[in-house]
Symmetry: C2
Subunit: 303 residues, 2 copies
């Protein structure tokens, strides 16, 4: 019995390693793909700027069992990658692996955290891109593995065009439908609907963008299958978003289009600060504020 438990623990540890190593690999692949777009730019209003590169900043929490101001114990760390460029006005790609003990108040809200005595582990990749061109959609992608007394995957990606374009929307949804269908015929409908419900601003009665997919608490009992799906979501994003960017990044835009973009970005801020669970989770467990708020747009207007 003790041996079985030990094997379980070591299997879980191995899986945690596998997942967090993957998030790092995916980060590297995405950063390379985005830097390639910076190099490729040949038109639009910013082609005379230099192609940018990501800057990486690692961070670590103090290795202490003292609860922080939020009442949680949070250890581990991560790496922020940020690029301010001529295609990507501001894009943040963060990876992190954190662990510790949730405050009691917080543990009540997380599956399996009561039974783990609040003990948790979480690893993931999180990305938000705000583009120079108002003709290129903003985008968000995130995948993660979380472990308490249970463990599961969550994630998704959603597209936020300033001027919705049917081709872009079709390409994005088409890619994620194909991805979902490779794993489970019911995933696309379920995870698309979840995305539509989740990325919605009730106070504006508006969706955040044109959707995508969103899923959480994915634990079918087959860890390898759930991980394979989560990997595929990341790879699908890595391949389809650059295609969408290429489609319009070289077009000129007008001052009016830029103004519209700055105002639409306000909705992104409202969503992230009022509703986004990742932001709330991060800020309320004493996470890294700079990394969490890297999602906020570089310039915004509420005229």
């Amino acid at each position: 019995m003790a041996l079985a438990q030990e094997q379980q623990t070591s299997l879980l540890d191995e899986r945690k390693d596998t997942a967090s190593t993957w998030f790092k690999t995916l980060r590297d692949q995405i950063c390379t793909a985005f830097e390639t777009l910076e190099d490729e730019l040949s038109g639009g209003n910013k082609a005379d700027m230099e192609a940018a590169r990501f800057e990486r900043t690692p961070w670590n929490r103090a290795d202490t069992d003292q609860p922080n101001e939020s009442g949680s114990v949070l250890k581990g760390g991560g790496e922020m990658s940020i690029m301010r460029g001529r295609v990507f006005e501001k894009v943040g790609v963060n990876i992190s692996t954190v662990y510790g003990t949730f405050s009691e108040e917080f543990a009540d809200k997380i599956p399996g955290a009561k039974d783990s005595g609040g003990v948790f582990w979480a690893s993931g990749i999180s990305l938000v891109a705000h583009m120079q061109s108002p003709l290129v959609p903003a985008v968000h992608m995130n995948t993660r593995m979380i472990a308490t007394s249970k463990n599961w995957f969550g994630g998704g990606a959603d597209l936020t065009p300033m001027f919705p374009d049917e081709e872009d929307t079709k390409a994005f949804h088409g890619a994620f439908k194909a991805c979902c269908d490779r794993h489970n015929p019911s995933y696309y409908k379920e995870h698309k609907d979840w995305c539509d419900r989740y990325f919605f601003l009730p106070h504006r009665d508006e969706p955040r963008g044109v959707g995508g997919i969103f899923y959480d608490y994915l634990d079918t009992g087959d860890w390898d299958a759930d991980f394979a799906y989560t990997q595929d979501v990341g790879q699908t994003f890595r391949d389809i978003y650059p295609e969408i960017v290429r489609r319009s990044m070289n077009e000129e835009w007008t001052e009016e289009q830029r103004e519209h973009q700055l105002i639409r970005r306000g909705r992104y801020v409202e969503y992230n600060l009022l509703y986004d669970r990742g932001t709330q989770f991060g800020l309320k467990t004493g996470g890294n504020t700079e990394a969490i708020l890297m999602s906020l747009p570089p310039e915004v207007k509420w005229p």
Copy 2:
């Protein structure tokens, strides 16, 4: 007994009228004072713009007992006053008088709302000013009367300089200390400390600005005295803020100072969307989104 109850009700109705009429009067006085500042501008970077005037937009909720999406019944209305000018880049002065029934979830959080079966009435004035000049502090002021099975006043004012200036801070606090002292010798310390605790961004470990006063649930048993204090808070604001604006509105500012202002405004957005109870209260009871979010700055950067 029935007569006594009727007299109680009619006295409360009279008080509601008195309070909401005052908020309107104060709104008129403040708008006039702010328009005078627009006229007086003679220097700085925007003196060649035209002096602006407030635009007023009344709004009304549907007169229905159907709960809105938030589960609350909300009737009544208000008036937004907004000015986009050469001194005031964007200032909103809102008054509203709303009533109805809170959703059960919300009623649990409001004093006396359980005993009233969720029935409430609320009237107030709320103001946020974002200035053209980074040398002139932004400001917030709000006072309100709320009635459930209890009734009370709340409000306050706080100053958010981009470049804190000792003279400005002293003038602001000095005026509110004198105001408080006219009513109760313990108010200034209590309401200043409340303000410092309340207008604080835990995720940044930063105060929002240089403080001021904040109070809520004020019900000493002497309605006239509580109302007189609330009126004085409004009048004190009306008199001291224009003085502070005059002190630096005619000075030139640099591009660097403007950049700093746009970044500091980001903190204002973070506070309002993450923590401000008025914003949360408004959005979660299905209030008027345009009026509530008028507090957001016209232009912001998170570089």
